[in-house]
């Protein structure tokens, strides 16, 4: 039997079993063998691959202390000398997805093939684009088993020194790379066959899937802020104490407006933070960190800005696919336009 492929695994603090948001600032740690979700990956690899080492990185640490984190990851890869690097699955978790993309980039720079696993709408998919090989997963850990099976297949292929085939063949998220080759039928025949299928209401597979990101035209600058009405928006899950509208702490399809009329700042006794994507204890103590009302009021008093719109908008921006976010943005924009608000300050956690 061929020798087992040497695999290096990257996992965040949560899927390593260290803890949740309270440990999101955890620095990079090395462990021999597999840890947390890596144990299930090891099972999926079977006897064909061995996770020789794992690096655990806190979600915040990986994104905020990027240079230190990646230098530790580089040293760990050089230490274990794996044939392939596996990262995730990160599902829809943005910070974890970005960390996986960074780890894959470091591996590639060291000449080690790498593959991540995450939801196709994870921001890292767009951020790393052609650079990152990632197998698609569901939104959450409920899809762990199929995600690991798909990850393990590609890990073993790359670890055995083979190149990744097409995204259809190897089941990863298409990166928009075209590889010249021959198809069984010429393009005009395939196009007519697709049209035929479409006209008959039959299923067909496009050869050019298009997932456009919305192009945002920047608003014109405002010359005189002392005349403007400024609105405040947060995706930090800021709600009145008791969360009367029951805003979801993740994957929210809705948003709410709350009055800040007559308030000088936000206090811990009146406001709360429901957000499953970061450690909320600091914001619960001082909600102004995700809606800087205290400063905006100061600027209003100093006439540096005109007036503050008396309502702020809130949702919890975490695990939110584009299809949820778009209507939320459209509804908020419609209200602001109708109320003749000139500019909005959006705090995204």
């Amino acid at each position: 039997m061929a020798e087992a492929v040497r695999v290096f695994h990257f996992v965040n603090q949560f899927f390593a079993g260290l803890g949740g948001e309270e440990l999101a600032n955890a620095a990079v740690q090395r462990r021999d063998g597999s840890v947390g979700s890596g144990r299930a990956l090891q099972q999926a690899l079977g006897e064909h691959g061995t996770i020789v080492g794992t690096v655990i990185g806190g979600d915040n640490y990986m994104n905020e202390q990027r240079a230190e984190a990646l230098s530790a990851v580089r040293a760990a890869i050089q230490h274990w000398r794996p044939s392939v690097v596996a990262a995730g699955p990160a599902f829809a978790a943005g910070r974890y997805g970005v960390a996986c993309g960074e780890v894959c980039r470091v591996a590639t720079q060291l000449g080690v093939p790498a593959v991540a696993a995450m939801h196709p709408e994870n921001p890292a998919v767009q951020l790393f684009g052609k650079e990152m090989l990632a197998v698609p997963t569901g939104q959450s850990a409920a899809g762990m088993q199929p995600a690991l099976a798909a990850l393990a297949r590609l890990v073993l292929k790359l670890g055995n020194g083979q190149q990744a085939g097409s995204s259809e063949e190897d089941g990863y998220i298409g990166r928009g790379i075209r590889v010249p080759g021959r198809r069984a039928l010429p393009a005009h025949c395939r196009a007519v066959a697709m049209l035929h299928a479409k006209l008959h209401g039959e299923l067909f597979t496009t050869e050019l899937p298009i997932h456009p990101t919305e192009a945002v035209t920047p608003a014109e600058p405002i010359a005189d802020l002392s005349q403007m009405t400024l609105a405040l928006i947060t995706t930090g899950g800021l709600v009145p104490k008791g969360n009367p509208d029951r805003l979801n702490a993740a994957a929210s399809r809705v948003w709410y407006r709350y009055s800040i009329d007559g308030l000088d700042s936000l206090t811990a006794s009146d406001w709360d933070c429901v957000h499953r994507g970061f450690y909320t204890a600091i914001v619960k103590e001082n909600p102004n960190y995700i809606l800087p009302l205290h400063v905006v009021r100061q600027l209003e008093r100093e006439h540096l800005i005109g007036r503050v719109y008396p309502w702020f908008f809130s949702t919890s921006g975490v695990g939110t696919p584009d299809s949820y976010a778009r209507p939320i943005g459209q509804q908020m924009a419609a209200e602001l336009e109708q109320a003749e608000v000139d500019a909005a300050l959006l705090v995204a956690t």
Binding site: P218, P292, I305, T349
Partner: protein
């Protein structure tokens, strides 16, 4: 938009992105004295005000 994860915001196409302090405290720093913290938050919001007054053609990062 004020965000500590500015790379994601820029990649998502937000035209004016202000680099926030940290994911857990975007507009300020609880490690500072209350006065310094308020000054830090003010600096971030003033950067946002400057961004609103600046013409941009695409996603642009503003550092407080």
């Amino acid at each position: 938009m004020i965000s500590a994860l500015h790379a994601i915001a820029l990649n998502g196409g937000a035209p004016r992105v202000i680099h926030g302090a940290r994911i857990e405290h975007v507009c300020g720093n609880p490690g500072l004295t209350p006065e310094m913290d308020q000054a830090h938050a003010r600096q971030i919001v003033l950067t946002a005000c400057a961004a609103i007054q600046t013409a941009v053609t695409g996603p642009t990062l503003f550092e407080p």
